[in-house]
């Protein structure tokens, strides 16, 4: 069973995302801020990470930067999940080495397809 780490500060979105992923057969670990996300990623070494951008205690960019600088976490597929539709943010995220970028409100199928694709 593949493990997904969900880093999202909004409780409802976090819960829904967990439920959707669990229904799809994934094991899910969740944290509510960037700092906890970095710790969880290092500790649990998930198969894939879903991460919000605007969060307290280290934003999504900082999370990715830290994970990329660490050999044990740098190879984990990383998907940004964000409410910002700003092109420059998307560009920044991709430049930093994210594997995908999904805008909120996200299409469930798009999310699942992306996760599946990146896990292959």
């Amino acid at each position: 069973m593949k493990t997904v780490l969900v880093i999202e500060d909004n409780k409802e979105i976090r819960e829904n995302t967990i439920e959707l992923l669990e229904l799809a057969g994934y094991r899910v670990i969740d944290v509510e801020d960037g700092k906890a996300g970095i710790e969880a990623a290092g500790r649990e070494l998930p198969d894939i990470i879903l991460c919000d951008i605007m969060m307290p205690q280290a934003d999504g960019y900082e999370v990715l930067e830290t994970l990329k600088s660490n050999l044990s976490t740098s190879g984990i597929p990383f998907i940004y999940l964000t409410a910002s539709a700003e092109k420059k943010e998307i560009q920044k995220a991709m430049d930093m080495g994210a594997n995908a970028y999904i805008c909120k409100p996200f299409d469930v199928n798009e999310l699942m397809d992306t996760v599946e694709r990146l896990l292959q």
Partner: protein
């Protein structure tokens, strides 16, 4: 000594007498001419010897003759050598009657108790004429300086002003003695004194032309703005002799200009204020749009994911009615997301933040993909027909082209009834892409067509069909950004055709 003998000898005297270039006349006590030399005969235009025996007054203009007789008699009373009438202008008269100015020296001698006077006469016509001309010219220059419309001053090499023309004196209402030296400084405005004196003294130091603007007290006690231009002056042999300046009263122009500048300043300030307010409002709007977009997306995400979860939890048990409502919620969320996206797009366009990104496209693949995506929007029995012509490859901003096409097709769907055809005709010939989107929908009322691309405009016949009135505004801006054009033809109740022309790089 030979010279003495020469003079005493008759022959010597004759040579002197005959060859002298001054006219010599010898006159006896009774006033008759005893002798005249050739030069005199020539000057007075008489024949040789013709003057002898004539009264000397013959050679004097008629109106002076009587006076001359008196002068002559007086002279013979105590004759001595002297210039004649040294302080007078003397005139003589030729045989022709022509009168001309002369200079005369008188000498005398006696022979056998007879007193004789010798007059040496020089024609000074040329000198008199030259003198007169100089005097006239000087008067002309003086008059010009005095009556010049500008005020003129002249300073010597020691910085002291030595001359002020009438115009200056009339302006200040002061005498030349009050102005001379640096007297003029007394009537320069106290606030300008230092500056004026500084400019004046510096200029003298460098011997360069200078200009100054200062206030000078007029004869009515009021200070007036004066524009001064001054230049160094030099003698004909190049020696620095001081400065000459001319001043004009520019008070009215200056005040008008000041007033104008003040007005311009005020207006600029007002404009800046308005601009800043506008900018602040625009920034606030941008912040609001950005905030709203972000803040709306979170609840929308929750709703959409919750809908998906409900869908999955109900699973196979759900009936058609639940499905219908779930789809309605999904459609509403998508609709709201679309509105948010439109607001964001128009805001970015207005802020000039939208840039083109070129992609190489296969127009057939691209168009089929777009049309496929639009299929789910179609109403009952609507059909989208596509016709492609020309080259397949082109270079354009794919995202914007997709947005344009999706918008026009979704409009065609939205505003056309069930069972109608929507025709998409794409032509890519010689680097020019032309897209026609035709529907048989409600059309746009003719009188409203002019507003169609205006922000937030919605035609009166759109009824309950939802929309922000931003879709076509964004389309038009995108088309223009891509250096293209968009036009349409529409008949109310019959349908609409949009035509887009886009140059592409391929």
């Amino acid at each position: 000594m030979i010279g003495q003998r020469f003079l005493e000898g008759e022959a010597g005297f004759k040579v002197l007498f005959d060859c002298a270039t001054v006219s010599i006349l010898v006159v006896n006590e009774k006033g008759y001419i005893e002798l005249s030399n050739p030069c005199a005969e020539k000057l007075f235009e008489y024949d040789k010897g013709e003057l002898i025996g004539k009264p000397i007054e013959t050679l004097i203009p008629a109106h002076l003759r009587k006076k001359h007789v008196l002068h002559r008699e007086k002279y013979f009373e105590s004759p001595r050598s002297r210039p004649m009438g040294s302080d007078l202008e003397l005139y003589a008269q030729k045989k022709t009657g022509d009168v001309f100015p002369v200079e005369i020296s008188l000498g005398h001698y006696e022979i056998e108790d007879e007193k004789l006077a010798v007059a040496f006469v020089t024609d000074i016509t040329a000198q008199v004429r030259a003198k007169k001309m100089i005097a006239e010219r000087e008067a002309w220059f003086r008059s010009m300086a005095e009556n010049s419309p500008t005020m003129i001053w002249v300073a010597d090499e020691g910085k002291a002003c030595s001359y002020f023309n009438n115009t200056w004196l009339e302006f200040t209402g002061r005498s030349i003695s009050q102005e001379k030296g640096i007297g003029w400084l007394d009537i320069v405005h106290p606030d300008d004194k230092e500056m004026v004196l500084d400019a004046y003294q510096c200029a003298f130091g460098r011997k360069e032309p200078y200009t100054a603007k200062y206030r000078l007290k007029r004869n009515d006690g009021r200070y007036r703005w004066i524009q001064e231009i001054a230049k160094p002056t030099y003698s004909p042999d190049g020696e620095f002799t001081g400065y000459m300046g001319s001043c004009s009263d520019v008070h009215d122009q200056f005040m008008m200009q000041e007033e104008l500048e003040l007005k311009v300043c005020e207006r600029t300030q007002q404009l800046n204020d308005a601009l800043n307010r506008e900018k602040a409002v625009s920034e606030m709007k941008s912040r609001f749009v950005s905030m709203a977009s972000h803040e709306f997306r979170t609840p929308l995400s929750i709703m959409l994911s919750s809908v998906s979860l409900i869908d999955q939890y109900i699973g196979a048990e759900k009936d058609g009615r639940i499905d219908k409502h779930l789809n309605k919620i999904r459609a509403s969320i998508n609709n709201l997301t679309g509105v948010l996206n439109d607001f964001l797009s128009i805001d970015k366009l207005e802020q000039g933040k939208v840039k083109l990104e070129y992609d190489i496209l296969s127009i057939s693949e691209f168009a089929h993909d777009v049309v496929n995506d639009m299929q789910f929007l179609k109403k009952n029995k609507q059909r989208i027909n596509m016709q492609l012509e020309g080259e397949d490859t082109l270079v354009l901003d794919a995202k914007k082209l997709r947005h344009i096409l999706e918008n026009l097709i979704s409009n065609a769907i939205k505003y056309s009834p069930d069972g109608t055809d929507i025709d998409l005709h794409i032509q890519n010939i010689n680097g020019n892409l032309q897209i026609l989107v035709h529907d048989a929908g409600i059309g746009i009322p003719e009188e409203e067509q002019i507003h169609l691309f205006n922000k937030f405009f919605r035609a009166t016949n759109t009824g309950s069909v939802q929309g922000t009135g931003l879709g076509l505004t964004i389309v038009k801006r995108y088309v223009e950004l891509m250096n293209g054009s968009i036009t349409f033809k529409s008949l109310s109740g019959k349908g609409t055709t949009f035509t887009i022309k886009l140059p592409n790089l391929d």
